[in-house]
Amino acid sequence: MGEGTGDNIGDMLRRVGGDTPLLEVRRVVKRFGSFTANDEVSLRVMPGEIHALLGENGAGKSTLVKIIYGSLQPNAGEILWKGKPVTVASPAEARALGVGMVFQHFSLFEAMTVAENIALALPNCKATRELSDTIARVSTNYGLPLDPNSHIADLSVGERQRVEIVRCLLQNPELIIMDEPTSVLTPQEADQLFVTLRRLASEGCAILYISHRLEEVRALCHHATIMRRAKVVAEADPANETVNTLAQLMVGNEIIRVIREKRKLGPEAILLKGLTQISLDAFGVTLRDINLSVRTGEIVAIAGIAGNGQKELFDALSGEEPVEKEGMVIFAGEAVGLMDINERRLLGAAFVPEERLGHGAVPALKLSENVVLTRHGTGEGIARRGFTRFGKAGRIVEKVTSLFDVRKGVIDPEARSLSGGNLQKFVVGREVERAPKILIVAQPTWGVDAGAAAVIRQSLIDLSRNGAAIVVISQDLDEIFEIADRIAVISRGQLSKAEDADTLTTEKVGLLMAGGAEEKGAAAA
């Protein structure tokens, strides 16, 4: 691109206005008690720049973002907006300055329409026809088509994210903070989002982009600030880095590569025969004629966008929701469809649900008590004659902690005091340590940093190679291609045929996720 061709405002601003950053954070310190979450952190975001903020879980990214967005106040340091020192006392003040935020977890009311949800966020605004027109105009303008009158409950996750983005755009922001925006999107939806983001940047809007996906950071971002243990450790131009060098900057040392040996297939361990489960819940998904066979020694991944029946499938496999006929679910030759979860565990099965807190673990209970939670009925003597043996559970905690490098402050902390990544390592480790013959795991590394994810994925592969049959339900295609031997896709409660991972590409799976699986599933049946 030649100098002065003026191809777009963003490029010009980045070149011309180079000396005055839109946002500058100087030596910000934030302490929570004795714990320092941000230690003299500095950050400069230029107008029209897509700026990546990278770091492992617990590196301090969220704290920094919350300070910028006004939901936390720093203990020291200053924030400059367009060169002037400012105090951001609340998110409302941040929005008044021109800072918008799109959260990782959506804050939308499912029973209300798009326009009503957006109206709620705007000051003194009602869901008028005028607003609907504005929404329709802005959303089509930015390639985010939305019907203002549709109900949130009827929208896909990608569409819900559009609502969040449009809501943010209507406040005319100059800086948009995006927290892991692609974690819930199909590859195609993510590409669509990148087009929008580039368009916004070209108009001069800066974007602070938080992501674990280094490949997309390389493709999208102009600049990256990398944090590790509460400090900024590096600045980089992502285009000049490789995924590996970026990951190294984040983790601080060579990250463990997941090693996948060739599988040695054993007998069939998990068999689903025409599994059909009518959902009685208004927001639930009905499972239709699901067929799947998994043999010991292999990992079969079930890809799919959230809310396409993964929860229902997991419940049917775990026994939390009994299925219609006992022969629909068969573990190691035994029909288990009518068995409860502990009877299935007794047969050598183990389960790791998607939600760590509140499903996989009780937040206010200690880790040892959370060991009792899933292992009291496995015949290991953790509960005997009605009495629980917390001492034995405590020893399992120690074993899991050392095997999976779970970092904790005290010997036996409450589950909720662990960071997301550490708790996930514990929840997976708790089951893997049992050496189950069958493992069903949902979103094993959701929201977990690269280091912890590698540990978890390697443990799943090792378990399968030692003779376990594993089903991984995941939305993360990188993860799926890293660990799965075969891949099936779930879409609207139907499952496509599981095919060899080597014969599939990300694009192909992405298409199946976006709805192609239904025809395939129907054809296979």
Binding site: A76, N342, E355, H359, V362, V372, T388
Partner: protein, 363 residues
Amino acid sequence: MMRLELVKRAEKSRLMSVLSPVVAVALTVVFAGIVFAAQGHNPFTGIWYFFLEPITSLWGVEQLITKATPLVIIALGLSVCYLSNNWNIGAEGQLTFGAIVGSIPPILFPDFVNPLVLPLMLLMAMAGGAMFALIPAKLKTAFGTNEILTSLMLVYCANLFLDWMVRGPWRSPEGYNFPITVDFHEWAVLNAVDVGGIYLNLSAPIALLLVIVLAVVMRSTLKGFEIRVLGQSPRAGSFAGFSTRRMTAFAFALSGALAGLAGVMVVMSEIGKLQPVISPGYGFTAIIVAFLGRLNPVGILIAGLVIASSYLGGEAIQTSLQMSSKLATVIQGVLLFFVLAADTLILYKVRLVTGREGEGAHA
């Protein structure tokens, strides 16, 4: 500008778990002092008569234990309900119904005089209370009705049923038309025994035994674990293979049984027959006892004694200061209020933020 800020703790504070009821009791005493002063009494005299004077005599201690016993027994059952997230507000009704069922042997079979009658009455009262408590439990699991409402409403059903029974079918022919049943025979009453100057009947040691049993169950059995897990996180409970429905039935049945037991023992020791009113609201007051005792068996034992003393205190200020004994109810309510407020300290730290500090952070 100064303001108080609540900062969430990473873990529950053990110190505050123990200290918060103490803080609540202290605040209640201060509040009571203010009430006495507002009524024109010396606050210290008032506090002395209300909180301390009743337990300065052996007779007072005996009364204290007698009043605390049913409160503790009922609150133990309620604590299991509340810990498992079942809101049984109807212990008063379960107490009444249990007492009615437990009184069947001496009333309908007055000639069956036998040492077996005593345990039989206790067991029947427990069964009756449990059955009555299972009504709201069943309604909850089958139809999703709110157990707070149904269990509370059933209190009035039970009390009116008792009223009708003692005025109608069970009225004593020798009772001069008073609404009372026949007097219970010798094996249908709990006799008091002299224990170092205090006269106690069987119900106090039973309460103590139940405290110990429940403490062990909650601390080191799978059932206790199940109760806590299902109360905190039903989804995690079902992941552990526990059933919320079965727990609802279990918790209601247990608390109903204990309320029935407490009810029949009150009848067997203090009254010796059935009459329209058999309880001064033990079933409702036990709710306060359960929470004041942190839903912990030993805590409930202590809380039961504290609350029982407020009953005695109410009587004491009535005789000594000519104040209304209703003040006891006020103080019980205020105590619950302070207990719930002080509980905040377990999960949160209170921090004083001054204006200067707040501004300094951004400068």
